[in-house]
C-alpha cells in the first residue's frame, strides 16, 4: 500500500515540477548564463566574457546610486508600512472601549477595515496613474490646487513632487513622495494580516492584562507586539522584496524613468536602461543576477534575525 501512495504523489507532482523547472528555474539559469556574455539582445551571437560584467558593475556609479536608493526604500518601506499597519490593526481590534462584552475595536471598525484595504484591490499601475493626478505639478493637481486655493502654496511656485530632486533629510524629495504612495498602498494589506493575527490572540490574555491595570500603551507593547512577532517578521521580508522592486512607481511617475537627473534611479530602472535602451543584455543580466543574490541573502538574514522560540497558544 505504501508503495502505491508514493507513486500516486509522484504522478501528481511530476507535471508541476517539470513546468516549474522549465519556466522558472531554466530561465534563471539562462539569465545567469547570459550574464557571462556580451549579448546585445537583438541577435543570436554572443561572446563569453567571463566575470567582466560583474567586475564592471562594481565600479558603475549609476548602480551605486541605485543601490543606495533601494536601501532607502528597504529601510523605510517596511518600517513605515508595518508601523502604520500595526497601529491601524490595533485600533480596529483592541483599541476601543472595553466593556462587559470584552475587548473590541474602535467604533466603525468594520467600515475602516474595508476603506483601508481598498488600495490593495487596485493594481500598482492604476495607483501610480491616480497619484499622477494627485501629484500634478500645477494648480490642476489635487494637492497643489487645494494648497494654492487656501494660500499655503504660491501659484508661481507649486510643489514639484516627483520632479523634485532637492534633498530632504539628505534624500531626494522624489523618493519621499514615492515612499508615501508605497506606504499608502501597502498598509491596508498588512493591516488585515495583522488583524487576523491579533484575532487569534486569546481575548483572556488582554482581559488579564487589563485587570492587572495595563493601559492601551502597555497592552500593545507588552502583549500584542510580542505575540505578533512571527507575522511581523514575514511581513518584513515581503516588504523588503517590494522595496527592492518599486519599478512601477518609478517608471510611471518620475521624469525620464529614474529622474530628475538620476535622483530616483533604482536597480530595476538601471537594468531596464542597460537592457532595453543601451542594448547590453549581458550586463543587464549580470545586474539582475547580483540583485537576485542580494535579495536572497537579505531574506535569509531577516528571517534569521527575527527567529525566536514560538509561543503556543
Amino acid at each position: 500500500m505504501r508503495h502505491g501512495v508514493a507513486r500516486f504523489v509522484t504522478g501528481f507532482l511530476a507535471l508541476p515540477v517539470a513546468l516549474y523547472l522549465f519556466y522558472v528555474v531554466w530561465p534563471f539559469a539562462q539569465a545567469a548564463g547570459y550574464s557571462l556574455t556580451d549579448w546585445g539582445g537583438y541577435s543570436d551571437s554572443q561572446r563569453f566574457v567571463g566575470l567582466d560584467n560583474y567586475v564592471r558593475l562594481l565600479s558603475d556609479e549609476l548602480i551605486r546610486k541605485a543601490f543606495w536608493h533601494n536601501v532607502f526604500f528597504l529601510v523605510t518601506v517596511p518600517l513605515f508600512t508595518i508601523a502604520l499597519a500595526l497601529f491601524l490593526a490595533f485600533l480596529l481590534n483592541v483599541g476601543g472601549r472595553e466593556d462587559r462584552a470584552g475587548v473590541r475595536g474602535v467604533f466603525g471598525s468594520a467600515l475602516y477595515k474595508v476603506v483601508f484595504f481598498f488600495p490593495q484591490v487596485l493594481s500598482l499601475v492604476v495607483i501610480a496613474v491616480m497619484w499622477q493626478q494627485i501629484y500634478r505639478t500645477d494648480s490642476q493637481g489635487l494637492i497643489n490646487g487645494l494648497l494654492i486655493k487656501i494660500g499655503l502654496v504660491d501659484a508661481d511656485n507649486p510643489i514639484a513632487f516627483t520632479a523634485d530632486p532637492e534633498p530632504f533629510l539628505g534624500i531626494p524629495a522624489v523618493l519621499w513622495w514615492l515612499l508615501l504612495i508605497a506606504v499608502w498602498s501597502g498598509a491596508g494589506f498588512y493591516m488585515v494580516l495583522f488583524s487576523a493575527a491579533m484575532q487569534s490572540i486569546p481575548k483572556d490574555i488582554y482581559e488579564a492584562a487589563i485587570l492587572d491595570g495595563a493601559g492601551r500603551f502597555d497592552t500593545f507593547f507588552r502583549v500584542t507586539l510580542p505575540l505578533l512577532r512571527d507575522t511581523i517578521s514575514v511581513a518584513w521580508v515581503y516588504l523588503g522584496f517590494i522595496a527592492l522592486d518599486m519599478y512601477a512607481l518609478v517608471f510611471v511617475m518620475t521624469p525620464s524613468q529614474g529622474g530628475p537627473n538620476h535622483a530616483s534611479e533604482i536597480f530595476a530602472s538601471v537594468i531596464q536602461f542597460n537592457a532595453f535602451q543601451k542594448g547590453q543584455f549581458g550586463y543587464a543580466c549580470a545586474i539582475a543576477v547580483a540583485l537576485a543574490i542580494f535579495t536572497i541573502l537579505l531574506a535569509a538574514v531577516q528571517l534569521r534575525i527575527t527567529r525566536r522560540d514560538r509561543i503556543e497558544f
Binding site: G40, D44, D245, F251, G259, P260, N261, A292
Partner: protein
Amino acid sequence: MSVTPENLGDLSRRTLLQRAAAAGLLAAPAMGLLSACAGSEPEKSDTGGAAKSKDNPFGVKDGSAVKVVIFNGGLGDQWAKEDKVVFSAKHPNITVNMSSTQKIKTEEQPKMATQPSDLVMNSGADSMDRATLINEGAIEPLDDLLTAPAWDGEGTVADSLLPGTVSDGTQNGKFYVVNIAFTVWGNWYNAAKFKQEGWQPPTTWDEFFALAPKIKAKGMAPYVHDAVHGYYPRWALMASIWKSAGKQVVVDIDNLKDGAWKADGVLKALEPWEKLVKDKLLLPGKLDHTQSQQAFLDGKAAFIQVGTWLKNEMAATIPPGFEMTLSDYWSNTGDKAAKDVFAASGEGFVVPSKAPNKEAAKEFLRAILSKAGSAKFAELTKSLASTKGSGDNVQDSALSSANSLMKNGGSELISFKFPDFYADLDKESQNLSEELMAGRLTAQQFVDKMQAAADKVAKDSSIKKQTRTA
C-alpha cells in the same frame, strides 16, 4: 532621429506589466522572457525569385504574404491603410497582413532573432535602439530601394525624397532606416491671439524678451514646454546651438571631439534659455507633453516648442478660432546659421535581416513613398511626408506655416545624431536639459557636464563609436 509623439507616460497596464516583467524585477521569474530570445534558425523562405521588372524591381513572388507592423502613435494608422490600398492596386495577389501597435519594442524585439515581421515601423518611445539593431546586424541595408525606380515612374526612389531623408537613414555608410514623415520643429503660437493683441511674433531672442512683459501683463505665461521628457527641451537647446555655433560644431559634438561643447557659440546659445528660466517666463509646474500642449491651447502660455505632429496629437481639443502657427526657434544677433531650420525625417521603417519576405517589404516601402501614398499621409496627419510635394494640396495653418518655414529656411537642415549614436549620452543630455530648464543648472554648468559626459563615452571601450560625416 526618431519623432516620438507618444510618450512613456501613456501606459496601459498590460504593457507596463510586460515591461516590468521584462526588466526582471518580479524577482526573476520574468527572466523567462529572455529565453524567448535564444537563437534558432529561421524557416527557409520561398518568397523572392520572381522575374524583376520596372513594376516589380525586387522580384516579389505572387501569392506570397508580407507582415507589416505600424506604430499607431500621434499620427494614427489610417494613412497606412491607404498605403495598403495603393500597394494592392499594383500587386493584387500579394497578401498584406498589417497590424498596428504603440509598443514596437515590447512586441517586436523578442522576435528579431528568430521570426521577425517583414516590415516594422520602429517609432515612438517604445522603439528599438537603432544603433544596436545595426551593430547586431539585425536589420537589412536598403540601398537597393534607393536606386529602384519610383512607384510613380519618374526617376529613382532617392530622387523623390526630401533632402536629408537619405542621410538621416544612413549609418556606417549604408542606408538602413526609411523615414516616411518629415517633421519641422519650432515655437508655436496662436496667430489669432497675436493679431487680436497686436503682438508681432518675435524672430530673435531680443524681440522675445521685449515682448514677454506684454504677454505677462495679459495674465499669460510667455513660454511652456514638456518638462517631464528631457528630449523635448533638448530639441530646442540643440537647435539653438546649431544656429549660434554653426553646423560644424554640432558635427563635432556628434563625433565626441575633444572640447566640442566648449566651442565658440555653444554657451551663447544656451544663455537666453537660462535667462528665460531665471526671469520666470515659463508657465509654473512641471507639465508633461499633453498637459503642456493643453495649457498652450487653453491660452495659459503664448509659445510652446514642439514638432509638427502637435496639430494631429491635440486635434480633439483645439478650440475654435485657434490658429496654430509654427515659427522658427529664435536666434541671437551674430549667430552663424540663424536661418537654418530644425527639420528631420522621422517615423523610420526597418526591414529585419531575418524577415521571411524582404522583397515584398521593400516593395511596400516603395508604395508608402509613392506620390499617392504620401499625399494621403499629409492629408490625414497634417504632417509632411518625406516624399517631395506631399503637402502642396493641403489647406491648413499648421501645415502651411511649416511648409513656408521650410521654403524660407537656410541652406542646411538642423540635425544632431549623438542621442541615436550613444544611449548613455542620450540619457545624460535629457537629464541635463531638464535640469537647465528647471533652473538647477546654469548654461555654463550644462556645457561642462555635457563635455564630461561626452568624454566619458569617448573613453569607454565597451561602446562602439559612430562617425557623422554630413
